[in-house]
């Protein structure tokens, strides 16, 4: 192809690879970071939707639906809420209370982290839509996993997980005895007492209580009674979770904007440096273009076209790496990455705009070079 733009890109492979890598990094940074954030939030919301309990009861302190909490809540609250104690009355209108313990551990695959939940299967089935579709509930040092976990993860022998497979939990092989549906909370569940034994030496602790009310229309009254009786505890309505997640998104968007801007700066700087170096290397060629009668506009357009071609290649590479990265991350960890077309398009526009911005200064500098000095450049 006898085009100065194509030939310059083709004949300077190292420069081209470095420049397009800069653009590709920008695209990957944008698409994967946004995809990871949105994927995790979407997944959290989807899993939460399968919880039919109307109220969540936490110990005092910060609440994070994405990561859960350490085991800081006494499970005796369950008895207190349902039956009352010598000091407090039972809360009227409560149908079921199920304690859930959440513990963050290194992923079974060894890459990343995952949440392990300890649940009391009998009460948990009453406050969620959980159903065992294969095998049975776990007892003692046994685990159940959801369908996706079974599909994506491997057991300690590197085989796909099925009933009877053993997975490594707290440094010991634990048999998987059941597979449940739908996805609720953590993908890996143990009996509550097993997790308490392993994490807090058997203390009667959990992270939260899931509370199902007898009449959903009276959930506000039940919540009010809980707040009145246990003022230092944190009461969260399940119906408010979407707005809590949205609140998380609000602050997340600020972080994502920073990442996107960082990606734009990286792309701009890489293209600027690459094109600036190229222009210095090709000073004599600029002089020749001028001697042939090339206008300033022609020179600027030629250099910007070269940067745009590099950007297009970088965007294609970045998009391919992002898609591969999504599958890689999801295969190796329990994280979710949503590669969204909208964000691919935004990353592409950022790559193109950054490239033009990065190429503009070297291009204008080239266009204004003294042709005689440029022709004598060695």
């Amino acid at each position: 192809m006898d085009s100065l733009v194509f030939e310059n890109v083709r004949h300077r492979p190292l420069r081209t690879i470095i420049s397009l890598s800069g653009v590709a990094i920008g695209v990957v940074l944008t698409v994967l970071t946004v995809g990871l954030a949105h994927g995790m939030l979407r997944n959290t919301a989807e899993r939460q939707a399968n919880v039919s309990a109307e109220i969540m009861f936490y110990a005092a302190g910060d609440f994070s639906p994405a990561t859960g909490q350490a085991l800081g809540l006494d499970t005796l609250y369950k008895t207190a809420i349902l039956e009352g104690t010598s000091r407090v009355q039972p809360i009227a209108g409560v149908a079921e209370v199920s304690p859930v313990a959440q513990y963050l551990q290194t992923s079974v695959s060894g890459v990343g982290f995952e949440i392990v939940e300890g649940v009391d299967f009998a009460s948990y089935s009453n406050v969620t839509d959980l159903k065992i579709v294969d095998g049975r509930f776990a007892v003692g040092d046994e685990a159940v996993v959801d369908r996706r976990y079974a599909r994506d993860k491997k057991d300690i022998n590197g085989q796909p997980i099925a009933i009877g497979s053993k997975i490594l939990l707290f440094g010991r092989p634990v048999p998987v005895v059941g597979i449940y549906e739908p996805e609720i909370g953590a993908r890996l569940k143990l009996p509550l007492d097993t997790l308490q034994r392993l994490v807090v030496n058997g203390a009667e602790k959990c992270s939260l209580l899931l509370i199902k009310v007898k009449n959903p229309a009276e959930q506000d009254q039940v919540a009010a009674a809980l707040r009145a009786t246990y003022p230092s505890n944190r009461i969260v309505m399940s119906r408010d979770l979407p707005s809590i997640v949205s609140g998380s998104i609000g602050s997340l968007e600020v972080f994502l904007k920073v990442v996107v801007r960082l990606a734009a700066v990286v792309s701009t700087l890489v293209i600027l440096l690459a094109m600036y170096t190229t222009i210095i290397e090709r000073t004599r060629e600029i002089g020749v273009l001028k001697s042939l009668g090339a206008s300033k506009t022609f020179i600027v357009v030629t250099i910007v076209k070269e940067a745009l071609l590099i950007a297009v290649l970088g965007i294609l590479v970045g998009a391919a790496v992002s898609v591969l990265g999504k599958f890689g991350v999801e295969a190796a960890t329990s994280l979710h990455v949503d590669v969204e077309l909208k964000w691919l398009a935004i990353a592409a526009v950022i790559g193109l705009v950054s490239s033009v911005a990065g190429a503009l200064y070297p291009a204008i500098r080239a266009a204004y070079q003294d042709p005689v000095k440029a022709l004598s450049y060695e």
Binding site: H11, L292, S295, K296, L375
Partner: protein, 243 residues
């Protein structure tokens, strides 16, 4: 015959530190359409400055340059660029071909700059064949000999049919055999197509190919002569060109 290039009292002073260097000191010159003019002189006498001023690459300190009747000295940079694009073809000592482009690609680029879009394939083939480069169209500069590269550079200068070719030591980087071939082709172009050529050279033998030689010293024309043209070496005549 009409005048294609005229300089009137051309002066050029360079400021080097606190020193003023007078490269041209009131040089007046006329070149007729279809003339082959050689400019000779020692290094630093102002030859290259004169050529750059004639091509609109520099602006003189004083004086005028007229190319095909258009004064370029008082014009804007854009206007001078336009005149250079339409009326002038440059040939350099170091060929200055684009190394990533083929011989034909170099011509196409000149056509694109001229504003011919994808250019005229027939015209490119005609010019390359005129310079006996038909078989080298797809070759890149590094795959060509010095003589061939300079012929491609001449073809590039010719492809847009400029009124004037300005050649800066076109044989300075060639051996004697290739120099003879290139000079003979330039002379044939001049004779058979009436192409005006202004050539700078240090080499008295190269200057003999011109219709007229002017000698410069210290920014002035000091003498002028009309040489007897040397014989054309066998096999270097341009083909398919009729006067």
């Amino acid at each position: 015959m009409s005048t294609i290039l005229q300089t009137i009292d051309l002066r050029m002073t360079y400021h080097v530190g606190k020193m003023d260097v007078h490269a041209l000191r009131g040089l007046s010159l006329e070149v007729e359409r279809g003339e082959f003019l050689a400019i000779m002189g020692p290094s630093g006498c102002g030859k290259s400055t004169l050529l750059h001023l004639c091509g609109g690459l520099l602006t003189p300190t004083e004086g005028k340059v007229l190319v095909d009747g258009e004064e370029i000295t008082a014009s804007s940079d854009a206007r001078r660029t336009d005149v250079r694009r339409r009326k002038i073809g440059f040939v350099f000592q170091k060929f200055n071909l684009f190394p990533t482009l083929t011989a034909e690609g170099n011509l196409k680029l000149a056509e694109r700059i001229f504003g011919k879009g994808s250019g005229n394939g027939e015209r490119r083939r005609e010019v390359l064949s005129l310079l006996k480069l038909e078989s080298k169209m797809r070759h890149k500069p590094l795959e060509l000999s010095g003589g061939e590269q300079q012929r491609v550079a001449i073809a590039r200068a010719l492809v847009n049919e400029p009124a004037l070719i300005l050649a800066d030591e076109p044989t300075g980087n060639l051996d004697s055999e290739n120099s003879e071939i290139v000079l003979s082709m330039l002379r044939d172009l001049n004779k058979k197509t009436n192409q005006t050529i202004v050539m700078i050279t240090h080499n008295p033998e190269a200057a003999q190919y011109a219709d007229r030689i002017i000698h410069m010293r210290d920014g002035h024309v000091v003498s002028e002569e009309r040489p007897v043209a040397p014989p054309v070496p066998e096999g270097t005549e341009l083909e398919g060109v009729h006067s």
